[in-house]
């Protein structure tokens, strides 16, 4: 018996969401009195060092055809590792790759899946996991009735803890089918923090009046090492790229800090950001609905407040 964690990589590097899954999985293993093992598919560097997140052993299937995601092939390979290692709980991050693979593996192994988990399983009486439902407006406790359980942990829902230790890395000899999905082109904004992984997000809405005014938003994001986001009308008007649109129809995010500038706080916008730990709202209208969902707020003109805010943070951080 073991807890098996899928370790998701990009260009050989382990994604932050997977470090969360590793920390979470190691804690679940402790809770169940068993050990945590990891599985990595495709090229990856420096796997032994992942031992510091509590994982004892890592199964590595390094076939080159695994460098791009084909969920069908991935689920098959992870299933082979899970069975060989006697995994009783399998952990994914509920990120892009997790959403593609975990459901397939669930159907393959007939193992109940809880996707979007936000807390450790309750194993006192069965196996129940808390997850987000209704776009962040509520939680459901889901009981898994099968022998093998799969959990897809929401990004930013569990804190990474690094300790000491190295993991034993073993090459796993799997049957790897040829992928049917062929990736022909990858576009990635380089040097930027991916929105769904960002700890801090600075977001702005129609209150900015036009795309030419975004410099003050970007300046603030820069001093905070934050990702930038926007409301839907802003993306629809092409003031900002579509991959910044958060909300019901855009990305759902859960950063530590979400700063909303000139956004009214419509329910569809909140649906994508209400899982943020701390929300700051800057809006000139004291009646803006966003203030009801906020922890801190300033009623004022963004064009005056935001540059001052940026300066004050620079002072705190000691940057000129």
């Amino acid at each position: 018996m073991s807890v098996l964690i899928f370790i998701d990589t990009t260009e050989g590097h382990v994604k932050k969401a997977s470090l969360e899954a590793l920390t979470y999985g190691a804690t679940v293993a402790e809770q169940l009195g068993t050990s945590a093992e990891g599985v990595v598919l495709g090229a990856a560097n420096d796997l032994a060092s992942l031992g510091k997140y509590g994982v004892k052993k890592i199964h590595h299937v390094s076939a080159g055809s695994l460098n791009h995601l084909d969920a069908q092939v991935y689920a098959n390979v992870i299933g082979q590792v899970a069975i060989a290692s006697g995994a009783k709980v399998i952990i994914f991050s509920n990120n892009v790759d997790g959403k593609a693979i975990a459901p397939r593996l669930s159907a393959r192994l007939k193992a109940g899946l809880v996707s979007g988990a936000v807390a450790l399983p309750d194993t006192a009486n069965g196996f129940t996991v808390k997850k987000n439902v209704f776009s962040g407006k509520a939680f459901a406790n889901i009981t898994v009735n099968t022998d093998i359980k799969i959990i897809a942990l929401n990004p930013n829902a569990y804190k990474v803890i690094a300790g000491e230790g190295t993991a034993e890395v073993v090459a796993f000899n799997a049957t790897v089918d040829a992928p049917k999905v062929k990736v022909t082109n990858v576009t990635k904004a380089s040097g930027q923090v991916p929105l769904t992984e960002a700890e801090v997000v600075v977001s702005a809405g129609r209150g900015m009046k036009g795309p030419e005014n975004w410099a003050i938003v970007e300046d603030l994001a820069r001093v905070l090492h934050a990702a930038t986001a926007c409301s839907r009308p802003v993306a629809d008007a092409h003031w900002r790229p579509h991959n910044e649109h958060v909300g019901q129809t855009g990305f759902a995010i859960a950063p530590n800090l979400y700063i909303a500038i000139g956004i009214s706080g419509a329910i569809q916008h909140l649906a994508g950001v209400n899982r943020s730990k701390v929300i700051v709202v800057i809006n000139k209208d004291p009646e803006a609905p966003f203030f009801k969902a906020a922890d801190y707020g300033i009623v004022g003109d963004a064009f005056e407040v935001v540059p001052k805010f940026t300066e004050a943070i620079k002072k705190l951080k000691g940057v000129a």
């Binding site: 969401a17 791009h68 969920a71 069908q72 892009v96 959403k99 593609a100 693979i101 975990a102 459901p103 593996l105 669930s106 159907a107 007939k110 899946l113 809880v114 996707s115 439902v133 209704f134 776009s135 407006k137 509520a138 939680f139 459901a140 406790n141 889901i142 009981t143 009735n145 049917k180 999905v181 062929k182 990736v183 990858v186 576009t187 990635k188 904004a189 930027q192 991916p194 992984e197 579509h242 991959n243 129809t249 800090l257 649906a271 730990k277 701390v278 700051v280 009801k292 969902a293 906020a294 922890d295 801190y296 707020g297 300033i298 009623v299 407040v305 001052k308 805010f309 004050a312 705190l316």
Partner: protein
């Protein structure tokens, strides 16, 4: 070509979320039901566009739900699609739902199965992947563009911090999100036409649910916003640093 579009019924995005029966049931009192936005705007509309490009295309809609899902699937038919199937079962287990869809898909010989990215109530993002596995077909999730040339689909899908383009031969299962198509409003002709389109009820196949809902919880109420004067932005920075420990 035959396309199967998966349609689910969800509460309107503005519905008040509350629970009854000692927090075991979603309180449906006063709730407006809609077609899950991802299913309607992206999966269904893209399927309709493919049919417009190639009129020999056949579109079937499927929903797994009780009779109260009929008005929703009729609404979907008013946008487009040739006929609909409702599998008469009420379940919130993704595997149970996927098994029903896979069964119908096997019988119907569809080249393409479209689902939405996720349901806005249970937020599983799971049914599509499960259907693909049960059918032993490739799965492309979180697609924002879908082009077809003969038997080859070229699909743009989301990756962290970007997107990638991939190619796959049909048959394939695709989950759809923003970018796939633009929202449409059903017209009078569509609404009238939908009344006479076939809506078949099918009985579910026997499968065990892998999960059950033990109960619901609402998040703790926010303490309320702390307002800071616009002339004292330093105070906001201090609060975020010392009190919230967020910067």
């Amino acid at each position: 070509m035959k396309i199967l579009v998966c349609i689910s019924k969800t509460p309107d995005t503005t519905a008040k979320i509350a629970f009854t029966g000692n927090n075991t049931k979603f309180d449906t009192a006063g709730v407006q039901w809609i077609i899950n936005p991802y299913d309607e705007w992206y999966a269904l509309v893209r399927a309709i566009e493919l049919k417009e490009a190639d009129p020999s295309t056949i579109i079937h809609l499927i929903t797994v739900g009780a009779a109260d899902a009929d008005p929703i699937i009729r609404k979907a038919l008013a946008l487009g699609g040739d006929e609909a199937i409702r599998v008469n079962a009420d379940s919130h287990d993704s595997f149970y739902i996927a098994s029903q869809i896979a069964e119908v898909a096997k019988q119907g010989g569809y080249d393409l199965v479209f689902t939405g990215k996720e349901t806005i109530d249970y937020n599983g993002s799971s049914v599509g992947g499960m259907v693909a596995e049960l059918l032993d077909r490739p799965y492309v999730s979180l697609a924002s563009k879908f082009e077809l040339s003969g038997n080859k689909a070229t699909i743009t899908r989301e990756i962290e911090g970007g997107e990638e383009i991939c190619e796959v031969e049909l048959p394939v299962v695709v989950s759809c999100q923003k970018g796939m198509a633009e929202q449409r409003i059903p017209n009078m002709k569509g609404i009238m036409g939908a009344r006479t389109k076939p809506l078949k009820a099918a009985e579910p196949v026997a499968v065990d649910a892998l999960t059950t809902v033990a109960g619901f919880e609402l998040p703790p109420a926010k303490a309320g916003v702390k307002l800071v004067s616009p002339d004292n932005v330093e105070e906001l920075v201090r609060l975020l640093h010392e009190e919230a420990k967020a910067i």
